[in-house]
């Protein structure tokens, strides 16, 4: 038998299924404080890196008079119907040779004839400088930095039917020609590096294009080619992207060029050309999507919707959410928002300052569809369009709705949760509650950010989504340059509503951030 500390698994049990509190329940087990699990049941699972047991196996160790519901009810309420055991406790109790392997270690003696090919560079003390943290290097290596170079738009010059099927584009990943062509790594030509980057979307898991486009888009593309010729708009000077370590010395913010000075007629012509330009950028996924330009009041929406979603509903949702991208309560202008609802997801990307009549690109897909490629292409649409993301002087000034959000004491588990966030940097936990609806806002914000305005902001977002065709809010991720703000709906159960609002500052490790958010939502929902 393997003995498992009851306190390590108690959290998985439905507390209201027992007549005793869980701490007293543990003391009344067949072996007080422990569950006993037959070792033979665990052996096969250990090869998969997990240890779980069905309720029926351990049910008899619980005092029957303490159980308020049937065994079937309890089993049905366990996650995936089983109790997950702490693997470390299981492993500790197995004999030392339990995992002894009979197969020999691979014979690698042949490699001793080769010296180690790579030696880390140890700079002499004179040239030594403080090493950048890995996270800092990571931040400097995001795709946004690469996109400071204007992406070439060869699609505009190609007839629509020339779109290459995916199978022909895939081999670009096999060997990036960068290394083969460059005689030296030190000064590899920028053009080659850009070429490599431009081809990389072939690796996307997104649907690849059929060589078919709608007539309207084809026509629009031809128009934009002509328009560009008339304009004679010079290509922006290519900006060489430097290695991460080289970039560290100069923050990107300082490198941002001044917005180009352009005339009003030029802006208008650009505006008219936007749908076709965006269509060209989105060409790789246009087999499933079509671009439409629609006016909603003063807002121009370039909408792209997958066939499962009604185009009108997408435009309406985008228009409903647009004011939240240009909102005074945000610490910085929004460059992109990804909103997931129960019925679909939408990526909103302002192609400039919305209040100055810049269009809003809205790409909507069905629930569960991958969004990363869309986000990237949409961001490229902004940068390729040479429109800037400066803050408007007339941003939407939503009222904060009075003081109907009241501060409440931050519970210890929320404080602990706040301390567990690492990817978001240091965050300050705050809890606010809506007097009228009982909505709770768990705020984990970067120091210096006021919680109340952003709680109002999150509540407004939630309300907007409830009236949206995308369905109730699931998650909202707002990019503000390097900074990110995340809003998640928390399933608090029993009709209670809660939101988690996190971030506001730069996020170094997106993967870790996601894991931390999932964990936080789960823990807050379990309370």
């Amino acid at each position: 038998m393997v003995r498992i500390s009851f306190e390590r698994i108690a959290g998985q049990l439905p507390a209201d299924a027992f007549r005793l509190p869980l701490d007293r329940l543990g003391a009344n087990l067949l072996e007080p404080g422990h569950l006993l699990v037959p070792r033979r049941l665990l052996g096969p699972q250990l090869a998969e890196g997990r240890a779980r047991v069905q309720w029926s196996v351990v049910a008899e160790q619980f005092p029957r008079q303490a159980v308020a519901v049937s065994d079937a009810d309890i089993a049905a309420r366990l996650p995936e119907g089983v109790l997950t055991l702490p693997l470390d406790e299981v492993i500790r109790q197995l004999p030392g040779d339990a995992f002894a392997l009979s197969s020999p270690i691979v014979d690698v003696r042949g490699i001793e004839d080769f010296p180690p090919p790579f030696q880390p560079h140890v700079p002499p003390p004179s040239e030594e400088r403080p090493a950048a943290p890995v996270a800092e290097v990571a931040r400097s290596l995001t795709i946004e930095r690469f996109d400071v170079t204007r992406a070439p738009e060869p699609e505009l010059e190609e007839p629509a039917v020339s779109v290459e099927p995916a199978v022909e584009r895939e081999p670009v990943l096999e060997r990036t020609p960068l290394v083969e062509r460059a005689p030296s790594f030190e000064h590899a030509p920028v053009v080659e590096r850009e070429a490599a980057l431009e081809r990389e979307p072939a690796a996307e898991p997104e649907p690849e294009p059929e060589p078919v486009m709608s007539d309207t888009i084809v026509a629009a593309e031809r128009e934009v080619v002509v328009e560009n010729d008339v304009e004679g708009e010079p290509e922006p000077e290519r900006v060489r992207f430097a290695a991460a370590t080289e970039r560290e010395a100069v923050p990107v913010a300082e490198q941002e060029p001044e917005p180009p000075r352009v005339s009003a007629p030029f802006i208008e012509r650009r505006r008219r050309a936007e749908p076709s330009r965006v269509a060209a950028l989105l060409k790789p996924i246009l087999n499933a999507l079509e671009v439409q330009e629609r006016r909603v009041g003063r807002l121009t929406v370039l909408s792209v919707a997958s066939p499962e979603l009604a185009a009108d509903a997408v435009v309406e949702s985008a228009a409903m959410l647009a004011p939240l991208l240009d909102d005074r309560r945000l610490p910085a202008p929004a460059s992109q928002a990804t909103v997931r609802g129960a019925q679909g997801a939408i990526v909103l990307t302002p192609l400039g300052v919305l209040a100055e009549s810049a269009p809003l690109l809205a790409v909507a897909v069905a629930p569960g569809a991958p969004l990363a490629y869309l986000e990237r292409v949409a961001l490229r649409a902004v940068e390729a369009g040479a429109l800037n993301g400066r803050r408007s002087n007339s941003m939407n000034g939503y009222g904060d709705g009075g003081d109907d959000l009241r501060d409440t004491t931050v519970p210890s588990h929320v404080r602990t949760l706040g301390e567990s966030f690492r990817a978001f940097g240091k965050v300050v936990p705050t809890v606010l509650q809506d007097r009228s609806s009982s909505l709770i806002c768990y705020m984990f914000l970067a120091p210096g950010l006021a919680a109340r305005p952003l709680a109002h902001y999150a509540r407004a977002l939630r309300e907007a989504m409830r009236g949206s065709a995308l369905g109730p809010l699931e998650s909202f991720i707002l990019r503000m340059g390097e900074d990110r703000l995340v809003v998640r709906e928390v399933d608090a159960g029993r009709g209670a509503a809660a939101l988690l609002v996190a971030g506001g500052g730069p996020v170094d490790r997106l993967g870790l951030a996601r894991l931390e958010l999932e964990r936080a939502v789960t823990r807050l929902g379990a309370r």
């Binding site: 691979v106 690698v108 004839d113 180690p116 290596l141 081999p171």
Partner: protein, 202 residues
């Protein structure tokens, strides 16, 4: 499969860092990039985007020693760890010469390690290869954390094929084990390519 440029006397190898999400694949490449002298490395291309931790892949070209008059260059790639980016992983694996499997040592990540290793083998088989044929090593990363599984159990989980492979303990964000891993897998590639033990190496 290595690519040989006879005109320039250069031979290219492709090494892919594979493993579950957030295991430390990118951290490995970042440390290599940070630590190698400029004369031995190109720029690191890191395609991280979106707020879903979507990493398309990372790419870092590095040059190494000369063997039989050929300069050897290694193209280091990572794959996205998330389960649903399998097509990207398959594409990155195409033409791979060797693999570093980066495992997360934490107990709660063990099932994902197992799943990722299976996925690696399945994807290699699509290219008529397998883990029994291709040179690979395993790196048990995050050994500095508290809730980590013992090495003998990790070996039981991930390295119990008929042919066991070299493994390394690592803390990639601090660089521990990073170069041991890279050097070993690179030397395995070289030994496979220059089967006589690389007498021409210098």
């Amino acid at each position: 499969m290595s690519i040989i440029n006879h005109a320039e006397k250069v031979i290219n190898f492709k090494v892919v860092y594979y493993g579950p999400g957030v295991a430390g694949k990118t951290a490995n490449l970042q440390y290599v990039h940070k630590s190698l002298p400029h004369t031995n490395k190109g720029n690191m291309v890191s395609l991280a985007t979106g707020d879903d931790r979507t990493i398309f892949f990372d790419f870092l070209p590095v040059s190494a020693l000369a063997v039989r008059g050929f300069e050897t260059r290694f193209q280091l790639y990572t794959v996205p760890g998330q389960v649903h980016y399998d097509m990207t992983r398959r594409l990155v694996l195409r033409g791979v010469d060797a693999v570093v499997f980066v495992a997360d040592s934490q107990y709660e990540r063990l099932p994902e390690n197992v799943e990722s290793l299976k996925n690696l083998d399945e994807n290699l088989q699509r290219y008529q290869s397998s883990l029994d044929e291709i040179p690979y090593v395993i790196q048990y990363n995050k050994r500095d954390l508290l809730n980590i599984a013992p090495i003998d159990y990790l070996e039981y989980l991930l390295n119990r094929r008929a042919r066991r492979v070299p493994f390394f303990e690592a803390v990639a964000v601090e660089g521990k084990g990073v170069f041991d891993t890279l050097n070993t897998v690179s030397r395995m590639v070289l030994a496979g390519e220059f089967g006589d033990g690389g007498k021409g190496a210098r």
